[in-house]
Every structure is written in C-alpha cells, then in structure tokens.
Amino acid sequence: MYAFDWSSIPGSLPFLWEGFLRTLSITLVAGLVGLILGTALALARLSSSRFLSTAAAMYVNGFRAVPSVMVLLWFYLLVPQLFASWTNALGWDSRFISALVAFSLFEASYYAEIIRTGVQSVGSGQRAAGLALGLTPLETMQLVVLPQAFRRMIPLLLTQAIILFQDTSLVYVIGLADFFGIAYRTGQRDGTLVEMLLFVGAVYLVICSVGSALIRRAKTRLTS
C-alpha cells in the first residue's frame, strides 16, 4: 500500500498560490483579448467584403487546425526574438508574454466561431428593423444584434473560458511555472509527485465544477 505523505503541501502553498495567480492571469488576459479579437474576427467573417471574410476564415481555420501546444511553442520561439527589447526593458518574463500572446490569439479563433453563430442566431428581421429606423449598419450591429447575440452566447463563452483555464497548464512545455507547473516541479523535487498532482487536480476539479454549475444556473436564468 502506498503511504501518502501530505506534509509537504502546506509548506508549498505560497508557491502554489503564486502559480495559481499566473494561471489565472493568463486565463483572464487571453479570455479578454480573445473575446475582443474574436468579435472583430466574427464580424469580419460575416462582412460582405470578400477580402475580410476570407482573411478571417483563414485565421480561424488555421488556428483551429493546429494543436495548441504547437502554437505555444512557436510563440515561445518567436516572441523573444520579436519583442526582446520590450520584455527586457520592462523586466517581464518573455515566456509569460509568449504564453499570453499565444493563448490570446488561439482563443480568438474559438471565440470567433461562437460569436459568429450567436450573431447569425439573431433574426434578419431585427437587423432590418434597426436599419429601417435609420441606424447605420454598424450601429445596428452594436445596438441591436450584438447585445442579443452576447446574451445568448454567455454560457458558451464561459464554458470556453473554463476550457482555457485548464488548457493554460500546457505552459509547462515552455517551462513557465503556472499552478500545475509549480506543483509538478515541487513534487518531483520532494518526491511527493503523486500527492502534489492529486492536490492540484482536486483544485482544478473543484473550480471547474463550480464554474460549470454556475454557468448552468445562469443558462436557465438567461433562457427563461
């Protein structure tokens, strides 16, 4: 029988917390940038300009067709070369920046598809009504279509954010110490890998389950 040794966990909590904050900040930044960029991509894809819609479709399909680990590695190799002067000047960890950039761009492609479907789910009559009142096409999108689309998409967007929260653990491939990464390293160093991974696994499980439950509740409220 394996003898569990949980004694090293309390002492590692401050480090784990630091990693957790890093995980959280990547999730929040990538979620927010992804949402904004994803909205722009969705609108470009739905626009009547063939150039815009093709360019957006290429972006979205491209990012969705490659594994996220690969995107992460690419940007890890690219960002230091492109932005070395910035990251050095600001004293930022270039691995952290490349993770932010990679996840933001990656998430944008997923959000774009969710938002595109949401916009299309708003009836064409609503658009016609906005235009008929004298609103410009842009105002109609901003004041009539998008508010309704976002309301319907909130559950899907939040679910995607939970997936993103889990996916951020992939940053261990570029050696960035996120919540999972720190647990892994500490566990390996102290010979308590099993306990550490069980512990962080439980934390992920609780956060994601609670998140999903909240989304389900919001969903029934939004659709009723």
Partner: protein, 242 residues
C-alpha cells in the same frame, strides 16, 4: 411622395418583381394585396432600400433610393416601417425601443424624446406599459408599440408589411384601429395586407399584385365592384367569401 418606376428584382434566376410601377401621393393610403409569393412584401422592403433592386428606379420624397450618393440611413429615418413580426428589440424595454432612434439618429435630448415617446404610447393606448419588456406584451400590443416606435421619428410616410397577419384574430382590430386613425389624420401610407375591410374603409387606391407584376392599380371603391382582372376577381372572391 413615393414613386416606383419599372422596378425589377431577381433572386438568382428567379424574377420576384417584374417592372412594377406604383405612385403614392402625399396623404394617400394605398393598399397592396395579392396571393402569397406575388412579391408584395419584397416590393415594400425595396422602398427603403432593405432589399436591392436590379432594374428600375425608386424615388422617395425626391430622393433616388438606390443612388450611390444617397444617405440611406437618413432617408430611412424619415420613412416609418412596421413589420409582420413586429421586430421590437427584445433586450430593451418598450420605452427604450422608442428612444433608440430619436436619441441615436436625431440626437434628440433625452427629456424631449421621452415626452414625445410617452405621448405616442398614450396615443396607441399603451402609456402604462412603457417600462415593460416586449415579451411581456401581447402580439397586438407589440405591434402597436412598433407603430409608435416608427411614429416617434415624425415619418413623412409609413410602410406596413402585413402588420396583422401574425396576430390572433381578436388582436387584429386594435392594430387596425390605430392604423385607421393614422390614415384619417392624413398620413401617407403604403400597406401590404389582406384586410379587405380595412382597405375598403381607408384606402384611396388598391394595387393588386400577382407573380411579381402590378396587375391592377385602381381607386378602392372601383376595385371592389370591378376588380379589373380575372385573377384579381378570383382573389377577391376567395378572400371575401368567408
């Protein structure tokens, strides 16, 4: 006021409008009727540029709708439109539905727009519903709000696209009453409808469309006694038979 000259429109290979010409003078009420699929709804949507046309010309208050230089939003803001399915904005209250266009398009001050909106809601009998959401109203009430929403922009003309065909029978009258009152006040109106009693009471002219063509265009009184074409006669007898 509104002039359509030989308007043609295609959906791919299918021709929905065939050289339609209709004139509506200021203060006139014109009813467009015809079997479903005859192109009447498409025609009315073309008038404020919601649907493009491929041939012909549409002029509203001296402005060519499909001229590239035409400021379409500005033109549309002066022409009221009421839809079959109301198309109130469900995420806004009744009052916000009315305020959207005056505040955004006309840049009217909030207080002024509010007073005007309340007066119009009162006129359609819904002043007490201002703070509700559209989903809390009946179909007839929603359509009356939609009419008020169009009127708040002081339109020079009103376009109605089958305003009562999505309504339960007991709600049709309340909407037609509002429209009749508008007509009596001298509003220029173009109405796509099957409500022949409404047409008989307020229409100056009836336009009968069939297969994308304007087949008959004559004074209302005359149309009911002498429909002017065999198809119009059959259509009329079918609609009036029950």
């Amino acid at each position: 006021m509104i002039s359509l000259e030989a308007v043609s429109k295609w959906y791919g290979d299918f021709q929905v409008l065939r050289e339609c010409s209709v004139q509506v003078e200021k203060g006139e009420v014109v009813v467009i009727c015809g079997p479903s699929g005859s192109g009447k709804s498409t025609l009315i949507k073309c008038i404020n540029g919601l649907e493009p046309i491929q041939a012909g010309r549409i002029v509203v208050d001296g402005t060519d709708v499909f001229n590239r230089k035409t400021d379409l939003p500005r033109l549309r803001s002066r022409v009221g439109m009421v839809f079959q399915h109301f198309e109130l904005f469900p995420h806004l209250t009744v009052m916000q539905n009315l305020l959207l266009a005056p505040c955004r398009v006309r840049k009217l001050a909030g207080q002024e727009a509010r007073q005007k909106s309340l007066a119009l809601l009162d006129r359609v009998g819904l002043a007490d519903q201002a703070e509700k959401c559209p989903a809390q109203l009946s179909g007839g009430q929603q359509q009356r709000v939609a009419i008020a929403r169009a009127l708040v922009m002081d339109p020079i003309a009103m376009l109605f696209d089958e305003p009562t065909s999505a309504l339960d029978p007991e709600m049709i009258k309340e909407v037609l009453d509002v429209m009749m009152q508008l007509a009596q006040e001298g509003m220029t109106m173009l109405v796509v409808t099957h409500e022949m009693n409404f047409a008989r009471k307020v229409a100056d002219r009836i336009v009968f469309m069939d297969q994308g063509r304007v087949e008959v265009d004559r004074p209302a009184a005359e149309f009911f006694t002498e429909p002017g074409s065999e198809r119009a006669r059959i259509f009329l007898s079918r609609i009036l038979s029950h």
